[in-house]
Symmetry: C2
Subunit: 236 residues, 2 copies
């Protein structure tokens, strides 16, 4: 009885998963714009309208994809961070940042989906997994900042940041994990993030191509300088 009840649900879950899988494949081969309900349905041998049984609207589907992709990014950088030696801030930063750039280069469409203007007219909803993943990313960076803070504090302790300057949802994740960290360190983490994001974003969108022929060298220089600017002297 319970098994027959579960059958429809199982089929439903499988179909949902297939829709998402096909959508990601379409995105990988044709960019975010290739995510169309009709193309997905064509690929699956269905009618476009059948998808409305699983996602209320195309933007709903895109939101789900963003959530998935963003979560995968957050997992990738977190895994890189964890696999680096714990007491070596420079190595941690390099691992984290390298994983971020590698993920973006491996998955440029995913990067565009998450950080760009993924689909015509799409506007991100308020809640969902994406802000969560963003918080995970930022929390990971805060971990980097926390490990570097003993070195960096004298240089960054100024700046009149207060807890009220940050999103409460982010602080809920950050403050329990790093109780001793001041607001300035969270600001530092955000700024480190923006540095990495800026460079990778320019590279992914091709705006660096008209300037430099070796974005990787630029990225490495950025990391070197970042680590030095944090006052980290140990070798990673």
């Amino acid at each position: 009885m319970g098994s027959t009840t579960g059958r429809r649900e199982r089929l439903r879950a499988e179909t949902t998963a297939e829709i998402k899988k096909v959508a990601l494949e379409l995105m990988a081969s044709g960019g975010p714009d290739a995510i169309t309900l009709r193309a997905i349905a064509r690929e699956m041998g269905m009618t476009a309208n059948a998808i409305y049984g699983y996602f209320a609207t195309r933007d709903d589907l895109v939101t789900t994809l963003i959530d998935n992709v963003y979560t995968s990014l957050a997992g990738a950088v977190q895994a890189a961070w964890e696999s680096a030696p714990a007491l070596d801030p420079a190595a941690r930063i390099q691992a984290w940042a390298g994983a971020f750039r590698n993920w973006a280069l491996t998955n440029p469409e995913g990067f565009r989906l998450v950080y760009g203007d993924p689909v015509p007219g799409y506007r991100p909803p308020a809640g969902g997994a994406a802000p969560d993943a963003a918080h995970r990313v930022c929390t990971g960076l805060t971990a980097l900042a926390a490990e570097a803070w003993p070195y960096a504090e004298p240089r960054y302790a100024d700046g009149d940041f207060e807890w009220s300057d940050f999103d409460p949802g982010l602080l809920d994740k950050v403050r329990p994990a790093f109780p001793d960290l001041p607001p300035a360190a969270v600001a530092l983490a955000l700024r480190i993030w923006s540095h990495l994001h800026g460079l990778v974003s320019l590279e992914i969108y091709g705006h660096l191509r008209t300037q430099t022929l070796s974005p990787e060298k630029l990225f490495r220089a950025e990391l070197t300088q970042l680590i030095r600017s944090l006052g980290i002297t140990a070798q990673g």
Copy 2:
């Protein structure tokens, strides 16, 4: 005779200008996705196909708009730079960066058009005014870096950058203007740009909203830290 010859050309130029104007208005009110030939034609009381007499394709029109908008951005930051005191690197940087962020906040759709993925399926062409404007932006930043270089050199002179690491078209503009500048300074300028771009891009696309409630404070902190990291001690 010459005047009658010029008449059609004048009308043509006016129509071309109106198409661009209407397109920019549509973009300002409805985002880059609102730039559709049919909407423009509707607004102008024409048929959509009439536009094909002025632009070979929709992407051609978008390219022209990007060129215009990018050029306006380049002009805005350059004007800000020029209006700041010449011997005060900190003030110059603050003026330039502030103008960049202000332009982006005032004209977010333009920012998306220039730095994002402006229109479904659009791929930027190789040449045109956009790379020129990008070079102007980078040259402006190189001017900042050049003014700061006397302070910054000891910290940034390392990094094994060579002239071959950069785009020749960019160097053609940069090297004549700053003959004594080493490649490391150009790399520094690019990195400064990526910092500013990263922060502003996150803010424009709303990815900062899930983290901080005061992006401006973050931006100011970034500038303060940037100026300090360049070794500039004078007050601007």
